[in-house]
């Protein structure tokens, strides 16, 4: 079957845990974590890359202590990050109170011991393409302000862009948010094209996103234009291309 998993950067990232080609990617993700921690006034920010089955493949964190905290939910198999990934929506715990202990009986005391008082987990996803979670840890209780919340989502989007585009493009264009190639182009036509490419290539949706973006890059065209051509059936991605 023309699954071409070997050609998928994303597949490579998820399978080659922290070694070889994924190494540079971790550096970039770590920078995102460090920036996010500073901007959001957090004691730490971590990113976990996960496969659809919930397998934990790669992690980056703003600092070593946060990396250990980020690891805790996989040790216990529970936590806001795991829930955010499963439900495809953020989990915002501004206080690790009784409700948190009831929900995550092992995780909650463990992160509290590490000095964490609030956890905010943001899924890294575009529709059904789920890539992982970005976690923001704070050493004091209290909600993120609306502005902080907006910024946290922007950091999550940045992490998604890094994961989809790989290290070459991510390092060339650090912000990744110019209108020409925004991973979060919210035009319906882009999402529809993702679904079509998935079937054309016979690959999972996350890989379809990677391939569609790679195609737009290689053609030097805006993602939305390429998407419109795909939906209008003026372009068809072949299983052997890209």
């Amino acid at each position: 079957m023309a699954r071409a998993a070997g050609r998928s950067r994303l597949g490579a990232v998820v399978s080659q845990v922290g070694s070889g080609p994924a190494g540079g990617l971790i550096d970039i993700l770590e920078r995102v974590c460090v920036d996010a921690a500073a901007t959001l006034d957090a004691c730490g920010v971590g990113v976990s890359v996960m496969t659809a089955g919930g397998v934990h493949g790669l992690a980056a964190a703003s600092d070593p202590a946060t990396a250990r905290i980020e690891e805790l939910q996989f040790t216990f198999g529970e936590g806001p990050c795991i829930d955010a990934f499963a439900a495809s929506r953020p989990v915002l715990m501004s206080e690790l109170d009784g409700a948190a202990s009831a929900r995550w009986p092992m995780y909650t005391p463990a992160v509290a011991d590490a000095g964490v008082r609030a956890v905010f987990a943001f899924p890294l996803q575009i529709g059904a393409a789920r890539l992982g979670v970005l976690d923001v840890f704070r050493d004091r209780p209290g909600p993120l302000t609306r502005t902080e919340l907006g910024r946290a989502f922007a950091f999550a989007e940045q992490a998604v862009t890094v994961l989809l585009d790989g290290q070459e493009r991510a390092s060339a264009e650090p912000s990744g948010s110019d209108g020409l190639d925004d991973a979060f182009d919210h035009g319906a036509v882009v999402f529809q094209a993702q679904g079509m490419v998935m079937v054309q290539l016979g690959v999972p949706v996350a890989e379809a996103l990677v391939r569609l973006r790679a195609y737009a890059y290689s053609e030097g065209r805006a993602l939305s234009e390429v998407a419109a051509d795909i939906v209008a059936r003026r372009i068809h991605l072949d299983r052997d291309e890209t």
Binding site: A52, A87, S88, R89, P90, V91, L92, S94, P123, Q125, I126, G127, A128, A129, P143, R146, L149, G150, A152, F153, A154, H186, G187, A188, V189, F191, Q192, A193, Q194, G195, M196, V197, M198, V199, Q200, P204, V205, V231
Partner: protein
């Protein structure tokens, strides 16, 4: 809309209340709401946009999913009556189309191309916050009177309250969680349209109808079906035979 029938309104609010107590799906709820609002204003198309955490207005539901209508709704991330209603918290009733091109350089030409001659937008208000907007677009010229506008605004307010309903939400953070979840569900629906269109050689518009009728026949939620279409199409037996 001439004067709205009291009977129709009563029916809608009863149905809305019924949805809120049943097992609740936000996308499904908003879909029902735009359909009912469209029935209220004869021949109108109704669309609903919600603001994401970064304050961008995003399309979530429409009474007609034709691609060009969805596109028209999407332009309002940049300008348009829904964006105005969202920003000001006030309804835009009987928009003046003679000056629309100046006010809304992106929205106006798209709306004109579709053939809309009456345009209104209502904010979705929740406590002191505006969380989105509902647009009403008619192909016939015609004004909403004061009473009509109040009824439609009441529906928009109900939509906003519906957002809080899923788990007796008291935390404002839970609203964010739910909103973001709904916006992502909407993306999955678009991805699923693409999957079906490609797999069965259909247009994306027809693909949506196929998916919706499948959801109805199997008594499952549209957003659930859409997720399975994108992640595991083969597990939906007989999907190909679904005709709109």
């Amino acid at each position: 809309m001439s004067t709205v029938s009291t009977e129709r309104i009563a029916k809608i609010f009863v149905e809305v209340a019924g949805t809120l107590v049943d097992e609740f799906d936000l996308i499904e709820f908003l879909q029902m709401l735009v359909n009912r609002a469209a029935g209220l204003v004869d021949g109108a198309t109704v669309g609903l946009l919600l603001a994401d955490a970064q304050g961008r207005l995003r399309f979530v539901a429409a009474s007609d999913e034709a691609t060009r209508l969805v596109e028209m709704l999407q332009t309002q991330g940049t300008d348009g009556p829904c964006l105005d209603a969202y920003r000001t918290g006030e309804p835009v009733v009987n928009a003046d189309l003679s000056t629309a091109a100046q006010h809304w350089p992106r929205f106006a030409p798209v709306a004109a191309a579709v053939g809309f001659r009456s345009i209104h937008a209502f904010p979705l208000r929740l406590r002191k916050q505006v969380i989105g907007a509902m647009g009403i677009f008619g192909r016939e010229a015609g004004d909403l009177d004061e009473a009509d506008a109040q009824v439609v605004q009441a529906l928009a307010d109900v939509a906003a309250i519906g957002l809080l309903q899923e788990r007796a939400i008291s935390r404002s953070e839970a609203l964010t969680e739910q909103l973001q979840g709904a916006l992502n569900s909407r993306i999955i629906i678009e991805q699923a349209k693409g999957v079906i269109a490609q797999a069965h050689n259909l247009t994306v518009d027809v693909a949506f109808d196929v998916m919706r009728s499948y959801a109805r026949r199997s008594n499952r939620r549209l957003s659930d079906i859409a997720r399975v279409v994108v992640t595991d199409l083969n597990s939906l037996p007989g999907f190909a035979s679904g005709k709109p």
